[in-house]
């Protein structure tokens, strides 16, 4: 495989905004709702081009989720936009009853997820959303890795019936996936092939995992880097095929370890074919203010920490 590089850094939320605009142009049933964060969510272009299909909910997220549920009656496909905290924790019951249990075709689009929100601190650094959303029956959970993939995922979920949670973030991060790459819901991507350890990463930590692979390669360790952009349904086949080859696993995510993607993977492994596993994630802590990369380092989510987890798990084989 050719070495993965990037030419520019862009924010995944802008990928969402671009995808929403593009899918809005080809599908008249797409409507968008935002709770007073239109600029932050990069929904301004959609609002400008489709003012009749954009609804400003104000600072009332519970109502926004109910509106979205109701808008589906008659065939609209609502995309809600606010921060990950206000998209999930604040409105869990509204999502549970009016969207998930009612199996409504609502796309819950959540920006500023994880520690990399940065300076705003722990009140806004949502680290429990994947857990809450993956527990809900009928819900699909997607966490793309960069700008291009977030754009592609935004467009893909419009054609995927049923409730979807789409998680993305605030800071500019390397853009390393191809611009024209189609997004296949539920299909993990093997980004780098390897034989010694399987590293399963999601969201912003996919790039950290790619950097970890380089660290490990210098030490003569061959890591397989897999992008779990769809956390639910999880790609059982790809996970088992990789760990059959490597015999051990590391998960990496910008989320609590409790209830995160890593737990889903460990569930797959223990049910089908157990192998040693290490978890890179936030370990039962709230975050704090700081710059995105400083926070990833402090909370143990950096490329170096992923590489260290890989070395440790290899020893446990």
């Amino acid at each position: 495989m050719t070495k993965i590089t990037y030419a520019e850094q862009k924010d995944t939320r802008s990928g969402f905004g671009a995808g929403l605009l593009e899918i809005g142009r080809s599908n008249n049933n797409i409507v968008a709702l935002c709770a007073d964060l239109t600029g932050s969510l990069k929904m301004n272009d959609f609002k400008k081009e489709f003012p009749d299909r954009f609804f400003q909910a104000g600072i009332s997220e519970a109502n926004m989720m109910g509106l979205a549920s109701g808008l589906t009656v008659g065939g609209k496909i609502p995309f809600t936009g606010t921060f990950a905290n206000f998209s999930t924790g604040r409105v869990f019951d509204q999502i549970r009853q009016s969207i998930a249990y009612s199996n409504k075709n609502v796309k819950i689009c959540a920006s500023h997820a994880g520690l990399t929100l940065g300076e705003d601190g722990a009140t806004h650094q949502m680290l429990e959303d994947i857990g809450m959303m993956k527990m809900l029956p009928n819900m699909t959970v997607i966490c793309p890795c960069d700008y291009n993939q977030t754009k592609a995922a935004t467009m893909a979920i419009a054609d995927h019936p049923g409730p979807v949670y789409l998680r993305f973030g605030r800071p500019k991060m390397p853009v390393f996936t191809k611009e024209d790459e189609p997004f296949e819901i539920g299909k993990a991507q093997i980004l780098i092939q390897g034989v010694d350890v399987s590293v399963f990463a999601t969201g912003h930590l996919v790039w950290q995992a790619i950097e970890a692979e380089a660290i490990l390669a210098e030490k003569g360790i061959s890591a397989e880097i897999i992008n779990i952009h769809t956390i639910k349904p999880i790609d059982v086949e790809t996970i088992l095929a990789s760990t059959a080859k490597t015999g051990c696993a590391v998960s990496a995510e910008e989320h609590q370890i409790f209830g995160g993607m890593g737990e889903s993977i460990s569930g797959v492994l223990t049910q089908h074919r157990p192998v040693p596993m290490e978890f890179v994630g936030v370990n039962d802590l709230f975050g704090e203010s700081g710059k995105p990369l400083e926070l990833l380092a402090k909370y143990g989510l950096s490329a170096e920490k992923i590489a260290a987890a890989a070395e440790k798990v290899i020893q446990r084989k």
């Binding site: 299909r53 909910a57 104000g58 519970a62 109910g66 589906t72 008659g74 509204q94 249990y101």
Partner: protein
Amino acid sequence: MADPITIPQLNRIASQVRRDIVRMVHSVQSGHPGGSLGCTDFMVAMYFRILKHSPNFNPDGTGEDLFFLSNGHVSPLWYSVLARNKYFDLEELKTFRKINTRLQGHPATQEGLPGVRVASGSLGQGLSVAVGAALTKKLNGDNHMVYVLMGDGEQQEGQIWEAAMFAAHNKVDNLIATIDYNGQQIDGPVDSIITLGNLKAKYEAFNWEVIESEGNDMNDIISNMTLARSLAGRGKPVVNLMKTEMGKGVDFMEGTHEWHGIPPNDKQLESALTQLEETLGDY
């Protein structure tokens, strides 16, 4: 066009629906008779006279009026009225709240029961849903109405007021909300729990068109829902503050919160049924 159903006919249907409610709740020894009996006249008037709807249920509801139930615990009432409108077989009322039923304790879409478009039970959510559906009607150029029924205790939920603000700001004037103003909630009279104060003034301050009606008087319901319909399309959402008596029609259940969520025993059922004429045949 056929003549509209008469008031005496509606009252006869309401009597039968009340029988259905107490029999359903008694059969499974579970459910909420009080609010169901109180809203019976309204629901009968809606589904037999006011709503433009089809029992050939289309979840999208295109080209017809939509009804949403926010206070989902009055499910036995809704199920009886839907069945008596031929949305599904009357015999299915026997399955209420029992294993493998489509007639869940609180209304749900999961089992595919015709008539239900969104689940309700956790309170405070139905007004938002109705507003969203009303927006879609406008986007689709569908000039039919969206109706929603809420409880009065439910007005304590903050989401109601989020939706109320949104609907007025966005001039959602194809929406008619009705509040079952029976003054009771589970723990006691609403005024003793958290008073709603002057609910009319509150909705007026939120820039809604407010009407007041008597919800256990079929004439009053019909005239006020007709009035509400005539107020639609004028830039404001409409709310109908509808006074009802909890437990209406069964003397020992009337006017108290005690029968909010308690089923009658065999003797109480017998007493209730002697007060409610069987007009259309029991299920």
